[in-house]
């Protein structure tokens, strides 16, 4: 029963791919309308080198954007927790940044910042910063007051409250936000590249789309999915490396 439940997601995906393949083959849908999964995988393999070159640029932009989002998210998250007035002022602005579609903002970034990497990185920051800062500041605020009082009665300073209690207790919540942000980061970079660029998966995607080479478009989408999953897995691994309590929880569960 347990083995079946573990295999179920893989089986569902395999079944959907088979269904897709069957529909395309039986209905003889042309390649420029909908490529079959077999076409997509074949193109993915033949185009792998080109895709990898563009992916490198996209991943670099995503990683720099993530790093900036992380550093800013930690600082703003602590300030939001430490100063309720600051929290009340900044939180609505953060929410508003998420209500404006990125596809609207990306061209404006290009007008202001040119055609280099900067507007793409800013697009990544715009998508990744919010989940990081919200998860971290929520995590900081969720700690049982008893623990904070205990450290205070022992003569702990405000900085020690953060170092000993609040930041470690917020790590699990922060990790959840980081996983969401990491998954978004590749898409953020692709959106930035889509508007204007000379390299990257977004650039590859728009050229393939303009040439009606849908097998290449789907191969590129597959690459974006794989990279997003890889970023998510990297954050998960980082969590296991940095947080021993996560490793223990996993060993208890298994």
């Amino acid at each position: 029963m347990k083995k079946w439940s573990k295999a179920a997601p893989v089986l569902v995906i395999a079944a959907l791919l088979l269904l897709w393949e069957a529909v395309v083959q039986l209905a003889q849908i042309p390649l420029y309308v909908l490529p079959a999964p077999s076409d997509m995988f074949r193109t993915f393999c033949s185009e792998f080198q080109t895709l990898s070159g563009h992916a490198l640029v996209t991943v670099m932009e995503a990683l720099v954007g993530m790093a900036i989002s992380f550093a800013a998210g930690i600082m703003i998250g602590i300030l939001m927790d430490a100063m309720p007035v600051f929290h009340r002022c900044i939180y609505p602005i953060l929410v508003v940044t998420q209500t404006v579609p990125v596809i609207v903002l990306a061209p404006i970034f290009i007008i202001y910042m040119g055609f280099g990497y900067a507007p793409k990185i800013l697009t990544v920051v715009l998508m990744c910063f919010f989940p990081i800062v919200v998860s971290f500041s929520d995590g900081l605020g969720e700690m049982d007051a008893g623990y904070l009082n205990l450290v205070r009665t022992y003569g702990g300073s405000r900085a020690q409250l953060y170092r000993i209690v609040k930041i470690p207790s917020a790590m699990i919540s922060l990790l959840s936000g980081l996983k969401v942000a990491a998954t978004y980061s590749i898409s953020g970079a692709v959106v930035g590249e889509w508007i204007a660029s000379q390299s990257g998966l977004g650039y590859y995607l728009i050229r393939a789309k303009n040439g009606y080479m849908l097998d290449k478009v789907f191969a590129c989408v597959l690459m974006i999915i794989l990279l997003s999953l890889l970023m998510n897995a990297l954050v998960k691994l980082l969590g296991y490396a940095v947080l021993p309590s996560l490793r223990r929880r996993r060993s208890i569960q298994s």
Binding site: L150, T153, Y154, G155, I164, S245
Partner: protein, 245 residues
């Protein structure tokens, strides 16, 4: 260390909980505070520990006024409050970490683990220990504070009856070695009788101390405790009679 509380006042909004409360505890004395629910027992301890700010009054230790209570007392709340992401050794050395003497405290803690029934538990995490062991770890953390006065807020209140009894036996045997001034807040009459040199019974909120009871017996056993029916009844009478007044 001798603790004096003089005319302590505290209110939650307009609700006066402590009104001109005064008492003192001698050096090395074990004093318990009993009282009806909501009389301000835990509030008193939170004010002494510096968690709540009093509206007025004075705290004196060995005759000297205490300006900043935080760090002055060794406070132990009802929950063990062990950090789940820290090992037992790191948890019990919390005071040393805050006051930058963690290494020296680690050596002391390792020596004391056996006395506290925690031998071999130094690298374990709180969720690997039983309720009683966790409470003993919390008590070890309290004793490692460089404070002469312990404030214990229903430390065994969250434990089952059997474990609570074991913990009381253990604490009673430990008290003579500790030689500390202890103020225990409890709702358990037997616990107060069994462990204390003196019991202070608080009245309704704002009423202050209704009665003091001295326990003279030095050689206390469970059998002695079971035979204290009359004292137990007297304490219940004092608490209840004014409640219904």
């Amino acid at each position: 260390m001798r603790l004096q509380v003089e005319k302590l006042n505290f209110s939650y909004g307009t609700n006066r909980i402590l009104k001109d409360l005064s008492f003192q505890i001698k050096d090395g004395e074990f004093v318990s505070i009993l009282g009806p629910s909501g009389c301000g027992k835990s509030t008193l301890l939170n004010v002494l520990a510096g968690i709540l700010k009093p509206d007025g009054g004075k705290l004196l230790i060995d005759g000297r006024a205490v300006q900043e209570p935080c760090g002055t007392f060794a406070y132990m709340p009802q929950e063990d409050l062990l950090f789940p992401w820290r090992t037992i050794l790191d948890n019990v050395c919390l005071y040393g970490e805050i006051h930058h003497c963690k290494e020296a405290m680690r050596a002391e803690a390792l020596q004391k683990l056996e006395q506290f029934g925690l031998a071999g538990c130094e690298d374990k995490y709180p969720d690997e220990l039983s309720g009683g062991m966790r409470q003993r770890a919390a008590f070890l953390r309290t004793t490692l504070c460089e404070a002469g006065i312990y404030l214990l807020d229903e430390p065994f209140g969250a434990l089952d009856v059997i474990t609570r009894g074991d913990m009381q036996d253990w604490l009673q045997s430990l008290c003579s070695d500790l030689k500390k001034t202890i103020l225990l807040v409890t709702h358990d009459t037997d616990e107060a009788i069994y462990l204390s040199d003196r019991i202070l019974i608080l009245g309704e909120p704002g009423e202050g101390i209704r009665k003091e009871i001295q326990i003279q017996e030095k050689d206390r056993t469970r059998e002695w405790l079971y035979a204290q029916g009359e004292l137990r009844a007297e304490i219940h009478r004092i608490i209840k009679e004014k409640e219904t007044r």
